[in-house]
């Protein structure tokens, strides 16, 4: 990852990484100072075991001209050589561009998913706030209406309070 960062800063190579994240990954990214500046984009995605696996292969595409797709045979291994299975290297334009399309499609899908999550969260917050804003004056109106029956001598004062709370709605 540090090599990629150097490529992006020193050689102005545009880097886009799609990766699953957890606390360890986030910490490394933070330590490396990787952000979306300097042509270095990281699109994280969460992988949950009950979801369809996004990908079982590592895909590397360079300059839209060469691709290297590496199968993983044992993800539990620490050594990169033990985790690797077969790999396919290609300079064939249709093959390489297919991988570019897969990568970009996945990236867009993850961005959309992220937007949807943000949208859903904002919608939920709005409903909570609106519900609170509606509930508070309504309760005041109901309470003062009850009090009005019990204390008709304070009629004017209570009607003003009811009006004020009605206006808040």
């Amino acid at each position: 990852m540090s090599t990629l960062k150097v490529k992006s800063i020193n050689e102005n190579v545009s880097i886009h990484v799609l990766t699953t994240t957890n606390d360890s990954v986030n910490k490394i990214l933070l330590d490396l100072g990787v952000d979306d500046k300097n042509n270095f984009t990281i699109t994280p995605f969460e992988f949950k075991s009950d979801q369809i696996n996004v990908s079982s292969v590592t895909i590397l595409v360079v300059d839209k001209r060469e691709s290297l797709v590496i199968e993983k045979i044992d993800d539990s291994k620490d050594n990169i050589l033990d985790a690797m299975g077969l790999a396919t290297y290609s300079t064939s334009k249709p093959t390489v561009l297919s991988y570019v399309n897969i990568f970009e499609g996945l990236s867009k899908q993850l961005t959309l998913y992220d937007h949807l999550k943000t949208h859903g969260r904002m919608q939920e917050e709005f409903i909570n706030i609106a519900s609170h804003e509606l509930r508070t004056p309504t309760q005041s109106i109901l309470a003062y209406s009850d009090l009005l029956e019990e204390h008709p001598e304070k009629r004017e004062e209570m009607i003003q309070t009811i009006k004020r709370n009605a206006l808040r709605l």
Binding site: M1, S2, T3, L4, K7, E11, V13, S14, I15, H16, V17, L18, T19, T20, T21, N22, S24, V25, I28, F47, V54, S55, S56, V57, T58, I59, L60, V61, V62, D63, K64, E66, L68, I70, K72, D75, S76, K77, D78, N79, I80, L81, D82, A83, M84, G85, L86, A87, T88, Y89, S90, T91, S92, K93, T95, V96, Y99, V100, F103, L106
Partner: protein, 126 residues
Amino acid sequence: MKYFREIRHLDGPKANFSVSESEYLAPSAMTQDFEPPKPIEQIIYSNVKDIVDQQKYVFESFWDRAVLGEQRIREIEEGKTLGKTEVIRIPSKTKDLFINLVKLAKEEILLLLPTTNAFLRSTIRG
């Protein structure tokens, strides 16, 4: 071509060199830089194991990225680039190719790491 077991084509190399199991040989200057071309006056020679191994590694990385000679001839004849696709079965070769591709990138690198362990292996464990 009948004199060679296999010929491959690669765009880009700027110098000639030969390497065998135990020796490395390269002209000290590019003869095509001279007009008219001159015969080679000086060569670099080494039988030091580390240098020979390093040059064998350089040759292997060129060889892996090159296309078959027959295919290149077909491409020139038909006026289109076909490219190549090959299966790599040796993980160490895959790892070397991965590193070379990243190093040689000029404009853009797209990388998908499918699991957090894949990320950690590529970042921490090399």
